[in-house]
Structure formats: C-alpha cells, structure tokens
C-alpha cells in the first residue's frame, strides 16, 4: 500500500491528488507531513507542492465532478485531521466515476464519511460568524483573535470583507499562527505570531463594559440555564469572547 506525504496545505493535497489521478502514481493513503509515521513495511513518498498542478486538479474536480464537491473537499481538508487527506482522496476517486451525482450517493461510505467532516467545518464556520469578536486597537484596526478547531479563517474573511468593508481588520488564528488582514479593499492571508497585549483604543474598554452589562441584563433570571448556554456556545470558544472572557 502506497502512501503520499504532502505538506498539509490544500495545495499540497491537490498536488498529491493530481499525481495519483493524472500523473500515474499509485497510493491508497494521503497523509500530511505532521501526521506521518514511517511504517515497518511501507515508506511514504514525499510530494513537492506545486501551485500550477494544484490549480489543474482543482479545475478537474470542478469540471468533472462539481463545484459543490470541491467545496466539500476543501471543508474536509480544513479540519486538519489525520484521516482527512485519505478521505478526500477516496471521495474524489468516487467522484471521477460517479460525476455530478457524487453528492447524492448519501449511502456510500466514502461520501458519507467526507460529508460528516465537511459538516463539522460548516457548523464551526456558522458559529464563528457570530462568535468572532473584534477589539478596536489604538491604531484604528479591528482585531479578532480566534482558536478554531478547523483552519477556517480563509472562510471567515470573505464574510467580514462584505460586512465591514470600510474598516481595517485582522482575524487572527492564534494557534496556527496565521491571520487574514483586510485594508478596506482586499484581504490577504499571512503568518502572524501570537501577540502580547495590544494597545486598545481609548473608548474600547467602555464599549466592552457596555456590552458586558447588556449581556448580563438581557438574561431572564427565572430561566437561568447554564447547560443550555454551554450547549449552544461551547466553552472552548469563551476564551476570546468579550462577554465571557476569564469566566
């Protein structure tokens, strides 16, 4: 059983897929560098990420299967889970034989497994559209730190570019050390290390206080229900929530 090792990026995964489907390599397993452990009887083969090749693969998926399948694959890959690469590979392989109808084969185990991963990302994305919190910095930039399970700031950025087009903002994935920066015209993805305490705008603390008070007051005492609250808003996201910080 052959293993291809890619760098963990989506382009890397697409390059590896290209090698299997169009380049004549054989492999049953696609694994990211960080998860690779050499086996006793098998050795993995490393794949050099190549942007042009990746783009060709993306286009092939879009045209020969569907844009939707491409989205599912992208979402699944952003989980960064160990099995994601292989699951995407099996899903796309099915896709090349089933074509457009791929996503209607809900009983197929490869399709079902991939949809499950993709749904997980969809859920987190939807949650973070609401749970992202910006702080206004002294320099006028809105700054939102996050630690999402999946690698999704590239999925959040377009939403906020549409919503806050007249602002300068940063959405920072603190754990992965990257950020989406927006300058009132377009957004780019860059590396960004963990930040120390950032200087806040002088009205920022007042605004946070207003929000915290609003948050406390809008709850109905007679209906207190912490279990329901934590079910809807998992505690893992509280760290950067202004209204829950430090609780």
């Amino acid at each position: 059983m052959g293993t291809l090792i890619y760098d963990g990026s989506f382009d890397g995964l697409m390059t590896a897929l290209y090698r299997v489907f169009l380049g004549g390599d054989t492999a049953e397993e696609l694994i990211a560098e960080k998860d690779y452990q050499p086996g006793l009887f098998s050795t993995g083969q490393r794949v050099e990420t190549h942007e042009g090749t990746a783009t060709a693969m993306v286009e092939a998926i879009r045209k020969k299967i569907s844009p939707r399948a491409l989205r599912h694959a992208f979402y699944a890959a952003s989980t960064g889970r160990k099995e994601a690469g292989t699951l995407v590979y099996r899903y796309i392989k099915k896709g090349f034989s089933l074509g457009k109808a791929l996503d209607s084969h809900l009983l197929d185990p490869d399709v079902a497994a991939l949809h499950a991963l993709s749904r997980r990302v969809g859920r987190e994305l939807h949650r973070l559209l609401g749970l992202t919190r910006f702080r206004l910095l002294e320099n006028g930039v809105l700054y939102a730190p996050l630690e999402p399970d999946s690698d999704i700031i590239v999925l959040l950025a377009p939403h906020f570019a549409l919503r806050l087009p007249r602002e300068n903002w940063i959405i920072h994935d603190v754990r992965r050390g990257k950020a989406a920066l927006y300058n009132r015209r377009q957004w780019v993805l860059t590396d960004l290390e963990r930040q120390g305490r950032l200087p806040l705008d002088r009205e920022e603390e007042e605004l946070q206080e207003l929000w915290k008070n609003y948050f406390a007051r809008i709850a109905i005492e007679e209906r207190k229900n912490p279990r329901l609250q934590a079910g809807n808003m998992p505690k893992k996201y509280w760290k950067y929530l202004v209204e829950k910080e430090g609780r």
Binding site: A112, H126, L129, R133, F215, R223, V242
Partner: protein, 429 residues
C-alpha cells in the same frame, strides 16, 4: 444619565420580548456603508438563560403611559426609567455591530407621551443609523399600536422586519389585563403592514426592486403564554390564521414571567416553559411540516400533551397511517414520521435514487432513529416494538429528559437548529 445606566435599564425592559431572529433577507452595503444581512439567522452569543442573542434587543424608552398588568414597564410600577436619544442609540448600535457583538438592532419601546411621539423618535434613530451612519445590518422595529400609519410606514422603510405584539391571544384577555389597549389598535397596524408587504411584492414582480422596500423580511408578532386562560388549541388556531391571512413570518411565544402582583393575573410560581416549548414545536409543524392546527390539537379545546412531542402525540392518535415504508413514502408522509425532519426526509429521497434504503443506511445519512424506528419499516422490516399497543408505545415515547425536577432542562431546542428543527431553507448540505 450615563449610557451604561441606560443600557442596564432598557435591556431589562426588553428581555421578555422573545424574537431574536435575524433571518429572511440577504444583502450588503457593497462598500458604501457598513453591514450585511444573511438569509439564515446568526446567533452572536447565548445569554445565561441559554437564549440566542442575535440582535441588540432594547427599548427606546421604558417610560409608558399605559398600565398593562403583565408588563414590567407599566406606568404604576416602581422601576427606574430611562430613554435614549436617537444619537445615542445609533452610535451604540454601530459600535456593537463593528465589533461583531450583534447582527443588528431590535428596537421596541414603551409609550412615552403618545404613540405618535414614540414612533417618531424611534424612526429618527433608525434614520440616523441608516442614512448618516450608513448602516446596512438588520433592523427589526416594533410598530407602536395607535401610531399614525404614515409613521409606521416610514419606520418600516428603514427596517428589515416590523412587528406588532399581539401579546394576549384573546379579546377577553386584553380587556382584562390591558384595558387601555383596544384590539383594533393591534389588528389595524398588522393589517396595514401585511397589506403593504403584499402590495410591494406585486409591484416588485412588475418592475425592478424598489429603492426603499417596506420590511423586506416581513412581519412577526408575539403572544404571551399563560397570563390568560386561553388554551393551546385556541393559540394555534390564531397562529394559523396569522400565517395564512396576514402572511406573518413568525409568531413568537413567550412564557409569562410573573413580574407583577395583580389579582387579575394567574398565580404562577414559575413561567410555563414546557408549555411554551410544546407550542414552538407545534408552530414548527404548522410552518414546515404541512400540518393544520386542527390536526395537531385533534380538535379538542385543550392544551398540548406536556409529556409528548406534538408530532408523537399526533402519530399516536393516527396509528392507522403507520408504519411507513421509507422506500415508498413521499416527502410529505416522511415528514410526518416522528423524529424525521425536512433534512432527513430530503436525504432519504436523495439516497433512494441509487437503491433501497436500509435501516443501517438511515443511520449513515444521519437520520435520528430514537423515535422514528417505532413508525417505519425499511424494505418491509419493522425495527421497533409496540406498534400494536399504543399505550405501551406512548410510554416509550414520553420525553423523559424533560420530565426532570423543574422545567429547566433543555426546553429551548425549538430555538436551536437541531435536526427536527432545521429550516428547510438550509437543508441540502
């Protein structure tokens, strides 16, 4: 008065209003302003009572010339009073919005001086927000009963959604608990709003979209549950009428929280949360499952069964229709199976195209079988028990989770997107 103090007072006065939905219209400022709206609602936080916070739900003022006996803001109640200025409210909304605390504004109000005066000030705040601050986020505004139709029209052009609270399900209730309000004052603006929305829809079909459409996300209302003796049957009939004749987008139900002592009010220890929950479930059946109010209540003049999900209750009354073969039933019948929602029903239909769906297959596509298995067959085989014995079956279906000590367990699932509750608009992915 400090802004902080105002917020505390005016949030306090607004918290019993339950609507928080921000769904139903999609658009963006395209660089000219701030904000966008999504067709699916977004929750930005969940307060300590577990309810979704989507909009900045707040009163313009908690001063009120009326004296409705169920209300925290009634004239005779001894509470601190505050009012915003239009500038304050516009700024606050904008600052919260750009920090992504909220999806928009939900502005309600007590009646200061007169309905016209109140509506006018609220409208000024909305105008500032839209025209001066360039705000394109979601706005839901309350129409103040008794305000001039022209003022309501103007408010509705700044808002995405407009609503008039019915509050009390019956005329008698209104007479007793809110004697200064006339049913006419509530029904008239509702009528007016629904007419306007309908007219503009027609207009839109003919011509290009209007520059400032009236309440594009429609109209909603709220009913208080448990302050009057009205039965669930009555309430659901009313909701059905509001959906069909008035074209309402949502009816919200709010368990009455005893905030005042008044001999005319029932002596409740706790808000009837379970009843509210059952009504939300039943309401869902009206809007997305093709049920008629009469079917859900079985035509009896009483409340919903507190122990059963209303769909289960209906199924137990209609056992002759079950079990349903998942490989043959059409969409509308699948939807009637307890535990199967629009999302699962659609997935079953999709999966069926490529071959028969087995019991295992149902699990693969993510259907929840806890309840469904008693009501279905897969390729002719029945996987549950109790089909012949409705009494036994009932005991299997009783909502144990919700029979705990208080009513405080997870009662709000009607408001959170669980499988049974997913909006069809979001299905398919």
């Amino acid at each position: 008065m400090e802004l902080l103090e105002k917020i505390r007072i005016l949030a306090d006065g607004a918290k019993y209003d339950v609507s928080c939905s921000s769904s139903g219209s999609a658009g963006a400022s395209r660089g000219r302003g701030t904000g966008s709206t999504l067709s699916c609602g977004v929750c930005h936080s969940w307060s300590d009572d577990g309810r979704c916070i989507s909009l900045l739900k707040i009163l313009y003022t908690n001063e009120c010339v009326y004296d409705c006996s169920y209300c925290v803001n009634r004239r005779t109640k001894d509470v601190p009073r505050a009012s915003f200025t239009p500038e304050e409210l516009a700024r606050l909304t904008m600052e919260f919005y750009r920090r992504n605390y909220i999806e928009g504004l939900f502005l309600s109000s007590g009646v200061k001086v007169s309905p016209d005066r109140t509506m006018e000030e609220m409208t000024t705040a909305l105008r500032l927000l839209r025209e001066e601050q360039g705000f394109h986020g979601y706005i839901h505004v309350k129409a103040i009963p008794g305000a001039d139709p022209r003022l309501i029209d103007r408010a509705g052009r700044y808002a995405n959604r407009i609503s008039v609270n019915m509050e009390l399900p019956s005329e008698q209730g209104l007479k007793l608990l809110a004697p200064q309000k006339k049913r006419e004052d509530i029904i008239r603006p509702m009528h007016l709003i629904s007419q306007k929305i309908r007219e503009e829809k027609e207009e839109k079909k003919k011509r290009r979209p209007l520059p400032q459409p009236f309440a594009p996300a429609g109209q909603s209302t709220q009913l208080i549950i448990g302050a009057t003796p009205d039965s669930d049957t009555r309430i659901l009939k009313l909701s059905e009428t509001l959906y069909s004749s008035f074209g309402l987008k949502r009816v919200y139900y709010s368990a009455y929280v005893p905030v005042n002592y008044d001999s005319r009010l029932p002596d409740l220890m706790k808000p009837p949360l379970l009843r509210e929950h059952r009504l939300y479930q039943a309401d869902w059946l009206l809007r997305f499952y093709g049920f008629a109010a009469g079917e859900i209540t079985g035509g009896r003049e009483e409340n919903l069964d507190p122990e059963l999900d209303p769909k289960c209750a209906w199924a137990l009354q209609n056992m002759h229709l079950f079990p349903v073969e998942v490989n043959k039933a059409d969409y509308s019948m699948l939807l009637r199976v307890p535990g199967i929602g629009p999302l699962s029903a659609k997935r079953i239909l999709t999966a069926r195209k490529h071959g028969p769906v087995t019991y295992e297959g149902l699990k693969t596509i993510g259907a929840v079988l806890k309840r469904a298995r008693y009501f279905i067959t897969c390729r002719g085989k029945y996987y549950g028990e109790g089909l012949e014995d409705p009494v036994f079956l009932r005991s299997l279906l009783v909502d144990r989770r919700e029979k705990g000590p208080g009513e405080q367990l997870s009662l709000f699932e009607a408001l959170s997107p669980r499988e049974e509750n997913l909006l069809p608009a979001k299905a398919g992915f």
